[in-house]
């Protein structure tokens, strides 16, 4: 990857993270899981999907679905930065007169399908990918899934079925940020080793640093067309970009005070670490 391209991607990702941080007040959002997959979503939109506001209805478009759903602030930020929606519209987050809320939904232009309940969109993606094959299309279906989401049986049911139907146009990306809600995945229901699990289901597997654009480029260029679906396990950091919340089990869903948002934006730009006092939503 050229330095220029990498710089451009990093700048875009930084702006997306600014949006995510601004969405984490006045009701808050799932900030940690949004920051962890921001680089993957930015990379997909800039380098892989080839979507523009004019091609969102094309039968031949590539699809991106967010199965883990609560990472949608990263998608909102990307859509706003790339002209799919007005940046100003993000101020409507959680307001009843708009449809921008904690989980994705189809009423937002650019969002293919809604999610919220975990373990659903792998199977929806299988349906889309199957139809593309049926029509002889070359487009691909990318679905971002959570690591905690892999607790759901329907994910592994989907893995079996996708392989059975030889859907090599289906690519899952696991946002491996090592946490689910307020606990580390490996402390609860360990999912490692992950590569041999997918391999045993017949999938092509690649594991990369999900914050390294050069590594993401290699991974997305690697995707084999060999009659098997592929998974890219993206090792990420929950809360990436904000050292004060990175890898912290208690910073899952947060509703920060407005003054904390200002501090966090400074922290994102490396100016000073925020001093946070806001509560987090504890579900365990």
């Amino acid at each position: 990857m050229t330095d220029h391209k990498e710089r451009e991607l990093k700048q875009l990702a930084l702006r997306v993270r600014e949006h995510i941080i601004r969405l984490a007040t006045d009701g808050g959002c799932f900030i940690g899981a949004s920051l962890s997959c921001a680089d993957v979503i930015v990379y997909l939109y800039k380098e892989v999907l080839g979507l523009t506001p004019d091609t969102l209805q094309d039968e031949a478009r590539n699809y991106l679905l967010l199965s883990k759903g609560h990472d949608v602030p990263a998608l909102y930020g990307t859509l706003a930065e790339l002209g799919f929606m007005e940046r100003d519209r993000l101020k409507n987050h959680l307001h009843a007169h708009d449809v921008i809320y904690w989980h994705p939904n189809r009423a937002v232009k650019g969002i293919e399908f809604h999610s919220g309940s975990l373990g659903h969109l792998l199977s929806v993606s299988i349906g889309i990918a199957y139809d593309i094959k049926l029509r002889g299309g070359n487009n691909k279906v990318y679905v971002i899934v959570g690591d905690g989401e892999l607790n759901e049986g329907s994910m592994w049911e989907g893995c079996l079925v996708a392989k059975a139907f030889k859907l090599d146009n289906l690519i899952a990306i696991v946002d491996r940020n090592e946490f689910q809600a307020n606990i580390r995945t490996e402390e609860l229901i360990p999912i490692e080793p992950l590569e041999p699990k997918f391999e045993a289901f017949g999938w092509n597997v690649k594991r990369v640093n999900g914050h390294d654009f050069g590594a993401l480029e290699k991974a997305f260029e690697w995707i084999p067309q060999n009659g098997a679906p592929s998974v890219i396990i993206a090792d990420t950091v929950r809360g990436k970009g904000l050292p004060s919340i990175e890898r912290r089990a208690d910073r899952w869903f947060v509703n920060f005070k407005p003054e904390e948002i200002d501090q966090l934006l400074k922290e994102l730009h490396g100016e000073a670490q925020a001093e946070l006092t806001s509560d987090t939503l504890m579900v365990r």
Binding site: S117, H120, S123, V124, I126, G127, S154, E157, V161
Partner: protein, 297 residues
């Protein structure tokens, strides 16, 4: 024309039709050679089938999904709710051996709360054909209809001559004012026998085949309530949430009180046995139904 013939015919004129199953081919055994890759068997994976059906519908297909009613509705319910009902995708969901038709399988296979659950979902219609003929006629109309629909599969031969199928319309098979029997699905067969017995005893019987619990034919129900001395709701379903509940809801809505005798399964799963023995044991044969009704007339 059988259910399978109808699907074959539709598949020839429309490339939208996709037939899916979670490894339950009883109702669609002859279809694979006709549909090719538009016949999709996902294996024993009801959740994946319903999510996949949603994905296919997003691409413009009309998936008709098949599994035993219990596994389709109960195991995959959240997938139906989230991925089909919320986005209002035109997926048809055909549940095998619903109600008493699971005969000797036991309670795991008894879909007798399916109508309650499926009619409770916004956007989802519910069709309970009384026999194979009505199933085939209904699917012709419903396959094209732009809404999700749950269908209680029924392969039994017809015991009446049917009127044309219309969405949301009940079929009144006989006129009368002493008693109205409102029924859906397979039990129409027993209702017809009950009607003959009651008529032989000089009672006039209005026999109403409800066909679609949702959208319910309000006019047919309310006129029965208003005009008949007794209204019987007959169903192989729990008392809660099925036809009796529908009639009660309608009466309240229209500030009407009826003299209603519910015949349903009252908060228990039924005795597993061969179908005719189930009917006898649970008191749902035509003769037993007529006796129950006569005590109230």
């Amino acid at each position: 024309m059988t259910y399978e013939d109808v699907l074959k015919e539709i598949s020839q004129t429309s490339d939208k039709l996709v037939v899916m199953t979670a490894e339950n081919r009883a109702a669609i055994r002859t279809l694979p050679p006709h549909l090719g890759k538009r016949f999709i068997d996902v294996g024993i994976a009801e959740q994946t089938m319903m999510g996949m059906a949603a994905g296919l519908a997003l691409r413009g297909r009309v998936p008709i999904t098949h599994a035993l009613a219990t596994f389709l509705v109960f195991r995959a319910y959240e997938f139906i709710r989230d991925d089909v009902a919320i986005p209002n995708l035109p997926v048809k969901m055909v549940g095998g051996v619903p109600g008493f038709l699971s005969d000797a399988n036991g309670p795991t296979h008894q879909a007798i709360e399916d109508v309650a659950l499926m009619r409770g979902l916004p956007n989802v219609l519910v069709f309970c054909p009384s026999d194979a003929e009505e199933l085939a006629e209904g699917i012709k109309t419903l396959a094209d209809y732009p809404a999700p629909c749950y269908i209680r599969h029924n392969p039994h031969p017809a015991s009446v001559k049917h009127k044309p199928f219309e969405i949301g319309k009940a079929e009144t098979l006989s006129e009368g004012n002493d008693v109205a029997i409102l029924v859906y699905g397979f039990l129409l067969r027993e209702a017809v026998k009950a009607k003959d017995i009651l008529e032989a005893k000089g009672k006039s019987v209005r026999l109403v085949n409800i066909r679609m619990p949702k959208p319910i034919d309000e006019e047919a129900v309310l006129s029965a309530v208003k005009e008949c001395r007794l209204v019987v709701t007959l169903e192989d379903h729990f008392l809660t949430g099925g036809l009796y509940s529908i009639v009660a809801e309608l009466c309240l809505k229209h500030k009407t009180v009826g003299n209603v005798l519910p015949i349903a399964l009252e908060h228990k799963w039924f005795k597993p046995a061969l179908l005719d023995r189930v009917l006898e044991y649970e008191g749902f044969t035509g003769k037993q139904l007529a006796e129950k009704i006569l005590t109230r007339l």
